[in-house]
Symmetry: C2
Subunit: 486 residues, 2 copies
Amino acid sequence: MSGGERLVGDLPQRDASEIAGEIAADETLLVSGFGSVGYPKEVPLALADSNRDLSLTVISGGSVGNEIDSELVKADAIDRRYPYQARPPAREAVNTREMAFKDRNISTLGDEIQYSEITDGGTAVVEALAVGTDWLIPTTSIGQTPAFVESADRIIVELNRSVPTAVRRFHDIYRLGKPPNRNPIPLADPGERIGDEQIEFDASKLAGVVETDRRDQPYEFRDPTDDDRTIASNLGTFLENEVRRSPLFEESLRIQFGVGSLGNALMSALGDADLGGRDLIYFGEVIQDGLLDLLDEEKLSAASATSLALSSEGQEQLFNNVDRYAENVVLRPGDLSNSPTLINRFGVVAVNSALEMDLFGHVNSTHLNGTRMMNGIGGSADFNRHSPVAVLALPSTAADGEISRIVPMVPHVDHTEHDIEVVVTEQGVADLRGKSPEETATALIKNCAHPDYRENLQEYLNRGLDSAGHVPHDIETALDWHVNRT
Amino acid sequence: MSGGERLVGDLPQRDASEIAGEIAADETLLVSGFGSVGYPKEVPLALADSNRDLSLTVISGGSVGNEIDSELVKADAIDRRYPYQARPPAREAVNTREMAFKDRNISTLGDEIQYSEITDGGTAVVEALAVGTDWLIPTTSIGQTPAFVESADRIIVELNRSVPTAVRRFHDIYRLGKPPNRNPIPLADPGERIGDEQIEFDASKLAGVVETDRRDQPYEFRDPTDDDRTIASNLGTFLENEVRRSPLFEESLRIQFGVGSLGNALMSALGDADLGGRDLIYFGEVIQDGLLDLLDEEKLSAASATSLALSSEGQEQLFNNVDRYAENVVLRPGDLSNSPTLINRFGVVAVNSALEMDLFGHVNSTHLNGTRMMNGIGGSADFNRHSPVAVLALPSTAADGEISRIVPMVPHVDHTEHDIEVVVTEQGVADLRGKSPEETATALIKNCAHPDYRENLQEYLNRGLDSAGHVPHDIETALDWHVNRT
């Protein structure tokens, strides 16, 4: 592709509502998008406006915008949805169970689509900044687009002219082969490039190209709260000690932060930590605004992710300075950004949040009161399980202090006692490494729980210590904490 | 090392009780052993008999024999124990919490020992079939011995003359490097060899060599029950279909089975499945008796593991025919046998059992009634999480039908809803891929639960469907099933 050319070759240019009309009512749509950016917009809107009786399955890379998870959901067009959603109408449809939903890990979704029974063919609807007869270049996220394009029977490309063509310079699209002959990933360094800017496909699958200049509807980050700042400060102190103690961090600190306002605030604050001159490298799933500032200040040497999950201001900052950032920012497919083996080989410190944690180290990231889905597990399990130092960072309370996020037993488990090494709240830090369940509970009550809840938590623990085994739960009252709350 | 020589060079040969007397009362012992074989025997027995007031930390590769987890425990010598135990005295000490215990995954224990805060130095006590001034050759298991020998300050070798020196021919000891410069594992095939027979160490760390001819106390497998046979038959039917459906199994089926009598029975029965001429390859953590028979019948082309967890009869069968088996049997360190990336790259079907599973796909492998530890998670999470097709195989009931193993909510979660793809009981098969929580519950009740419990489980599900969100739990009564049982 030459510099600014977006449509290369003889392409089937189509009107959105026309091509939407050719999509079967019960089709499986494999849509691009991750971190609320880089998703298709015109075809979903045309489907939502079509007044047809639709029962679609919609599978995305990760979070997508209102055109899909609000408009198409409100049109009652989606029967089934994987693997993540973060818009109120989608959340409501998941929780009324009108939309069947299965929460999936990011790292393996591509394989599941390509090799499992959960879909057969389907139509890929993917956003691109340029397209040819047998290739496309993704926009602001890669996500699972390569796997979707490979496994779909048909491909519809939304060419988005609002995304600068230079964004392609961030891309590094490497494909895992098919097991059992899947080769080791030859990436030696988080900032290295081993793939292409573009995704290739079988030309006969290209059903149409729809043009748009409609922009992403990205996240809006709230300003950091006092608790966010104290958590960031506690995390900074822990990291300053950890990099000096552990042989894993002699030269550099590789780190990931979860998506969201707290994650963004933690990223920003990391620039203040004294890492003793060590290189700071980001290896995560999203680039958020906080990282751009660290790059500007030359405090971060490289950033690898699968999505530019920036605010509108962050997008402006990036789009106006692609040349400056392209050297240090790499976008990869989700099965590399979240790859268990890369997280392990690079020794990435993981920093993720959650709804709540229990006294014995189990974590609920997704389901309020064990039943009501918030967004989904996203990449948190990929990083928590495979990081040598998985840090759970969360405020000790929610709802203005009315709810403790440290509880006797979580009513839904996304991460087990085997996954988290360190817990940070605004109260302090609990290092769970090597600790038995009883020791874990004691450390969490003392160092991380809010003082208002320590006595009740200790009473619960004492009941377990009186009667139970290795994990001193009092099963009879383990969930009362949640039942009495509702 | 020349053929039969076991002691090479000028070695510090020592009496067991003498060298045991030099071990500090609060020492950390890093002991070899996995699958109840290949563990040190004389030094632990000497410590148990010493009448000293000991408060040891004992970290093993996996399961070890009575010399450690019975005798040393009964002598009240162990204050702290990781990562797995399977002998009644150890289990009792874990559940009275007299012995602090932390359950760990197999794949990452070596890294935790080498890079985390859970131990600093310590004494490695490891069994070998031959030893030199700066090398040793393990016996019937590799486990975490390479990591232990690397990270320990001192090394005591137990030279076991009862293990044929030819057993070294099974070994393939490859070491992962230190993150962030850890290279990809260059293993292209489960049966390939990329390492050495021996483990090297700094000669100055060798504190003593103790000789013994005391044998392992390996597992005793019970005879398969009727339920075991029906589960094996249901699994066989599932696999026959799956290998024909999935592009992952065009050429071969790579498979792992969990440790134990059911696992052993399933291994044996696999020979009867019609795989359409596909190669059958084992990639797991233990070689059990059932696999030897498949090798004898030439139904299995290779077997990779970290332990020869055979019965006494199985050990005889193997030891008398090392030449025959050495071509196809490979023993690796636990961080390779259970490597997430190798399980993923080879596309290994995982078949593991558990105590119970809940209606929404969460699995309890370890804690009776959520509090009482059985053995430990072992390698089940390594395989379940990273297998493209993780199968949970278990009888639908326990205690002669008095207890359903399908329950509303498990009181302890080792594997989450994200980890298991397929459930097999003697009642049938539930394929959970792509299923929402409601669909998962419906399939488990219909296909896997015992008929005696279906009505009660359906009533529970109906209560959740009346009132709850995405996961239709009735939190108020979720654990009554367990409370009422005790």
